[in-house]
Subunit: 143 residues, 2 copies
Amino acid sequence: MSGKGYVKNPMDREWNDSQPIYRQVRDRVVAMILDGVLKEGDPLPSVRNVAAEYRVNPLTVLKGYQELVDEQLVESRRGRGMFINAGARNLLLRGERQKFLVEQWPTIHATIQRLGLTPEELLEAAAGKTRPPSDAAEEKKKS
Amino acid sequence: MSGKGYVKNPMDREWNDSQPIYRQVRDRVVAMILDGVLKEGDPLPSVRNVAAEYRVNPLTVLKGYQELVDEQLVESRRGRGMFINAGARNLLLRGERQKFLVEQWPTIHATIQRLGLTPEELLEAAAGKTRPPSDAAEEKKKS
DNA sequence: TATGCTGTTATATATAACTATAACACTAGC
DNA sequence: GCTAGTGTTATAGTTATATATAACAGCATA
C-alpha cells in the first residue's frame, strides 16, 4: 500500500473539489467560448498540453473534451486536433442559460435567501472583496 | 451479471446527480436548521427512517450525519438519537455565509455575467417560472 | 427480561472518477 | 521514409461513493 505512492497532485488548487475534473475541463472550454477567447474554427489546446499544464491525466482531459463533442460544440479531427464548431456560441447561449436557470439558480437563490444575503453583500463579494463579517473574527492581519 | 442486480434507485429524482448523496443529506439538515424547521435540542430524523423514506442506504445517511457531528452542529447519543447542538444556527449563519461568498458566489456571478442574465430573468426563474426565453426579452440592454 | 427503537461497525460488492503506462492511428512537414 | 505533433484505445490499479446484508451496542419501556 505504500510502495508506489498514489499521491494527489499538489497543483490542484486549480480544481474545485466539489466536481469531477473532466466536467470542470468541459466548463472551462465553454467559458472560453462564451467569453470569445475561443472563436468558431479555432483549435482547442491539445489534450496532451492541457494535461501537462494542469498536471492531470490526458484521459481526464479527453473525457471533458468528448463531452463537448457529444454536445456538438467541437469537432475532432484525428491527427489534427479538436476545433470549435460553427454556431457553438449561439448553441451555448441558449442551452447554458436554460440549464442554469432551471437546474442551478433555484437552489442558489434558496441558499441566498436562507443565509439572508443582501444584494450589496453579493456585489461586494463579486467585486473581489472577500469581506469578513465586519465584527470580530479577523485574525489575518497582513501589514 | 443479471442475477443479483445492482440497480440504481428509480426514486432518486430527489437527489442531485452533481453531488454525493451524503453531502446532500448534510446540506438538507443544514437548510432545515437555518430555516428553523429543526431547532436546537431537536432530534434529527433517525438514520434508518431517512434511509427508508428516500430509498437510500443507511450508511449513506450516517455519513452525512457524521459530517454534521464533525462540524459540531449535532451531537450523537448512542441508543437515543442525534440532536441539534446549542448554537448550531449561529455557527451556521457565520460559516455558511462566508463559505458561500468565498467559494461559490464568485463562480456563480461569473456565470451569470457570461450568460448575460438580467436581474429580471433571475427573479422570474426564482419565482418558479421556468419560462423559455421570451421573444420580448431579446432587446435587453445592460444598465 | 423482552421488545423495539436508537447509533455504529464489519464484510463484500458495484460503479464512477482518476491515474500511470503504453500502444495505436492519423496528419503534416522535413 | 522519418519524425513530431495530433486524437484514440487498451490495461491495470487506487480512491470515493453507494449499495446489500448482517451484526453489535446502548437506551427506554412494558
